[in-house]
Amino acid sequence: MSEDDAVAGPTDDGQLVRVEGFLVRLDLAYEPDGHLWVAPPDGSTGNVRIGLDPLGVETTGTVAHLVVGSVGTRVRRGEPLGSLEAEKFVGPLVAPLTGVIRAVNPALATPRQVVEDPYGTWVAEVLPEAWEEESAQLVRGADRLPAWFADEVRRFRLEGVLAQ
């Protein structure tokens, strides 16, 4: 597969492209280390929604439990937002932004939904404290995302995390 083939054209709504077999939404920002997506702040509440991107879901394995901190808890970028268990392995879900947890998706009681619909199943809503500053450290932009995502898939394949 050539690099051009790896990045397919937009799907119906123009905001979704298929990259190396994974769907990538171009209207979201991505935390590159944890493979979390971050939606832009809501116009009325200022909250941002956070979820796992499809590559994050794929490389995590079968998610058995996903728990986010309580509403009202302040989280800092790079520190635990919650915890996740897959393959009997427990680790933190790392906050992509500093802020206060405003909502936790009740759908997390069935973690399978995150796997089946990564973009449709947000994990938490956070009111960010430093959106302008911290969002600059996220990957975003329709011109940049497909190539970045393709590089990530190739890296995971090289490391053996994803099947070739």
Partner: protein, 374 residues
Amino acid sequence: MGPEALLETPARPGSRGSRRAGRTLGTLRVLDFGAVSPVRSQSLWHALACGVGRGSPAALALCRPAQPYVSLGYHRPLADLDLGTCRRRGLPVLRRLVGGGTVYLDPRQLFFQVVVPPDAVPAARSQAVAELLGPARAAFEAAGLPADFDQGELAVAGRKVCGHGAGLVGGAVVVVGNLLERFDAAAAAGVLWAPDAESRRRLAGRMAECVGPDPTWPVDAQAFAEGLVSAYAEAFGVTPEPGGLTPFEERVARRFDRLLGSPAFLCGPGGQSETQLTERRRAEIWTVKVRAGVVEARVVLDSTVLRAALVGGRLRDVVVEDPEGDQDPGVATALEGVTEGSPALEALARGGPSAARAAAAAARLLARARGGGE
């Protein structure tokens, strides 16, 4: 010390710092704690993880609990347990910071823990667990249990001989396991909440079939311990160095002594233990995972009670109780071996009311199993 703070980054594959750097381990500390109290059998290796996370060399630890107790996987609800039974039997209840189920532990189980820096193992969880658990296979063989990986578990002839869990604790990757020298199925089933005596009886029977070595198999724990040290030293390419906890780890162990059985920590990261308990008792479907691919279940639908095991997605040992129905034994027989979407379910659904209720109960259980409900 909040538990979330102990689940330090890196967390998931690709998380900061978790990318495999091909790091080699300079040495392997070997710590044999012998028989210790229930809480020490957990706190010692939690502390060891914090030490490795701070830069101490990788470690292999061994211990066994001096008394029986119960351990909850980090995310498991307290509602898994029959707390009244635990209290009556004087069993301490502890929560651990690694994954896996709610388990009964006793002195006939030899625990081992492998603790390494995150960059010494693959980024993918399943690969990391397999890589860190893999060398233990040789030790099981040395103990007289020629185990192979079966659906991610070490098993001999369909019997799970090693429970395991894993996680990122205090900045280090930990895989914990145990040699089940003998498994007390009745005690293990007895500490779990079950909706009725028959469910518990069936659960104990299922555990006796699937967990622990066959009672006739000799198990050599000493050979296991020696095999474990040599297998991990060889796998890591290092010389084992016996030793003990550092002063820092000793201090951290004492903090874990207080944390792991504390009421707040026992409620779990999601909290709401009372809610979970109520929901579990009212739920129409009760399941307990016995081992990978084997679940014991009870479903109540209207007046019908369906009892069954799910083995590889198929119903086994089906019993249907329907006080309002005609108790046709053919219904249970027809459900044997059934999988989700099976024509047998449709055929039963078109039968009489009793058969239809049993088919509906079976369908709900199979759908729940597909969804990973247990």
